[in-house]
């Protein structure tokens, strides 16, 4: 079809373009700028999940309890006590009476149902409501075997967290740590694994040999740790899913276990040679090692950035132990910490925005964070002995261990990067050297 463009078309086209341009200049309404909100925990109501059958009520209550605990521990939510609830949720398929939830100042509401299926599996459904607008923000259902109901609760927690904060969750993750028992003279140290909230503790080693510094792979469910057997310290690679254990090698001069590269295929470590130590990278498949630094100083505790392009490490080349950053293939290193005291055990956040460290000075051990360019240093907590920070998968929360000294032993704590919300993690006994896993799903 031939299209004839004549003068009339042209004029009408130009006229309509002019009209369109003119309409962009709408009448400006008065604008009021609001900047000072409060970064406050969001009030959320989590009534017990409804049981599909009466026997499912117990698990429904359990799921609600786990979710409540998770969100509360994150510091970003303020779950409302169930005793204050006016409405009892009996059917999650009809919208709740939002006025009842507005009255108790809830801004979000979680309803859910647990139903045991004919084939023995458990069906979990949940809905997340915005109380102010009465809109459903999220809704999901899952099927699982009944013993994994806790995991389902963590997954739902992550969904809620992600939908209401705009960031990835971290509840469906685990922590490996060194469980300590016995007197301070005859400590038994065992490698243990638990959910991030302290539940489901499992022991991975028997405690005959001393284990220290477990490290989680950022991408796989594998852990490296160091075990002092009868002779030299050995580095083991342990697969949590399968329970398989593999010796990475004998490293006589090693004082820390290696850390993984973000792809999980390489590990980076420091090896002591004579009076100094240097950094090396080892490919887990070929077991070949590459030297990264060659200095007369002590370079140790390396950690990869999440993109794998850079490494942060501790070095005393400037006199005192300080944190340095360099490219993943070696080369010139840039010092980023300049404070008083000494800095050690730097860990790069999975988000990439911060490097956490232990700082020693003034008779105190502190946990702090610093941006990779050396700005924004902030101490999150300090005390007699705080050490070994490890990031949650979303980089918002840190776990570390604290030793109050004396006859008692260390315990695990979490703190968020704002430094406001510090909490103790329940463990069966004394615990140290935590390492946070990536998200399980």
């Amino acid at each position: 079809m031939p299209f004839r463009l004549n003068r009339r078309h042209m004029i009408s086209g130009m006229a309509s373009a002019a009209v369109l341009l003119g309409s962009r200049q709408a009448v400006g309404q008065a604008r009021v700028q609001i900047t000072e909100g409060n970064v406050a925990p969001l009030p959320i109501a989590i009534p017990n999940f409804v049981g599909g059958t009466p026997s499912d009520n117990e698990v429904g209550a359990g799921v609600a309890k786990v979710i409540t605990n998770n969100l509360k521990r994150s510091g970003l939510f303020a779950p409302i006590d169930q005793a204050a609830y006016i409405e009892k949720i009996t059917n999650i398929d009809v919208p709740p009476q939002f006025d009842n939830w507005k009255t108790i100042n809830a801004q979000a509401l979680v309803t859910g149902r647990m139903t045991r299926q004919g084939d023995g599996r458990l069906k979990a459904e949940f809905r997340l409501w915005d109380v102010a607008t009465g809109q459903q923000l999220a809704g999901q259902q899952y099927f699982t075997s009944p013993e994994y109901w806790r995991r389902i609760a963590h997954i739902i927690s992550d969904q809620i967290y992600e939908r209401l904060t705009g960031e990835k969750g971290y509840f469906d993750s685990r922590v490996v740590f060194v469980d300590e028992s016995g007197s301070s003279q005859r400590r038994v140290k065992r490698l243990a694994l638990m959910d991030q909230d302290g539940a489901n503790v499992r022991y991975l080693t028997r405690g005959a040999d001393l284990v220290i510094t477990p490290r989680f792979s950022p991408s796989t469910q594998e852990v490296t740790y160091m075990e002092f057997g009868q002779g030299d310290p050995r580095v083991y690679l342990f697969n949590i899913e399968t329970g398989q254990r593999e010796i990475v090698g004998n490293f006589p001069g090693m004082s820390f276990a290696p850390r993984f590269a973000p792809d999980g295929q390489r590990i980076i470590m420091s090896l002591q040679q004579g009076g100094n130590s240097n950094l090396f990278v080892m490919d887990l498949r070929s077991k070949s090692t590459t030297r990264l630094t060659d200095t007369p100083a002590i370079d140790t505790s390396p950690s990869y950035s999440p993109d794998g392009a850079r490494i942060c490490f501790e070095s005393d080349r400037g006199g005192k132990p300080q944190i340095y950053v360099m490219g993943a293939t070696g080369g010139g290193a840039q010092r980023i910490s300049f404070g008083e005291g000494s800095y050690s055990t730097p860990v790069w956040s999975p988000r990439g925005d911060y490097i956490a460290f232990t700082k020693q000075g003034g008779g105190q051990f502190s946990i702090g964070i610093i941006k990779p360019d050396g700005s924004g240093e902030r101490i999150l907590t300090s005390g007699f002995h705080n050490e070994g920070p490890t990031f949650a998968p979303n980089g918002r929360v840190l776990m570390f261990f604290r030793d109050p000294g004396g006859n008692s032993g260390p315990s695990l704590h979490t703190i968020d990067v704002s430094g406001r919300n510090e909490l103790k993690v329940p463990t069966p006994g004394f615990a140290s050297d935590p390492a946070w896993s990536p998200l399980l799903s």
């Binding site: 463009l5 003068r7 008065a30 700028q33 909100g37 970064v39 969001l42």
Partner: protein
Amino acid sequence: MRVKVDKTLAASVALHVLVIGWGLVSFSSKAFESIPEESLPVDIISADQLAHVTAGMKTGKKENPKPLVEKVAEATPPPEDTVGKIDEKKPPVVTDVAPKEQPKPDDKAAAEAAAAAKAEAAAKAAEAKAKADAKAQAEAAAKAEAAKAQAEAVAEAKAQAEAKAKAEAKAKAKAEAKAKADAKAKAEAKAEAKAKAEAKAEADAKAQAEAKRAERVFDQSKIAALLDKRDPSRHAVTGDTLNANAALGLAHGKAADNSATWGSMFKSQVERCWKKPYGGLEAQMTEAIFSIKLKRDGTLEATPTAISNPTTPYFRVYQESALRAIIQCQPYKLPAAYFDEWKFFEPVFTERKL
């Protein structure tokens, strides 16, 4: 599909582009200046109300009895009046307030009057002569000071005459004083009119009275002397109380905008409800804009509509938190007077500190 373009259209477009492009390059003009119009609040009232307003009241309070002025007057003394100033050396001017006694109509009086007229004529002649004399003398004195020193006896008169001749040569209002002085000077210096001494004395007194009377006579040639030669003392309407509402406003004023008033009230109320999510680096760039309609009682007329479009999960959460705050905080207590301004506006929630 083929596009056929008319040749004339192509030519027209080409020519237009050429001409407009040439115009763009060759014509330069000043940017348009838009002068902001001043707007005045207008209320529409009925004729009845107008009548009521303009009716006035007998018991009304009298306002502003004192006139308001543009300028507070300075405490300055009145300018010196050199014309009307009385010289201390001179005898006080006796003004003749009471009307002069009319002479009785009799022969003696007539003879007297005739004599008086004669004396007057004589006095006038003498005056004229004296004047000429004084002038000559003054000139002589100015030319040769030695002559002045010699004439010690006439020094006083001369000095007087000199002063007069110099300062008030033109002031004819003082003719009488001059005449007197001149007569005296003449009598002393020349001693010519010995026989007429008495008559002269009489004539002198008469001449004085006559001169005074003559002064009151309107002389058209002396209008200039009647003019007020003082400097003008008034430049603005001065006084001690300024007019507070003299001006109606600036010529480049803007329309009434009270959004700062009710906006900050809205802001403080909504901020109490706003629990914003914690954000990392990206939080610094967020900005959520809504369009809201409020009813007179401060409640929302409809659910606020978001104008901004969230691009990241964090931005979406941020915007939702702001929406929650707007809904949760109603009703808003805002000044009813500005309802027309706040019934429809756009709150902007942002982390950008301006």
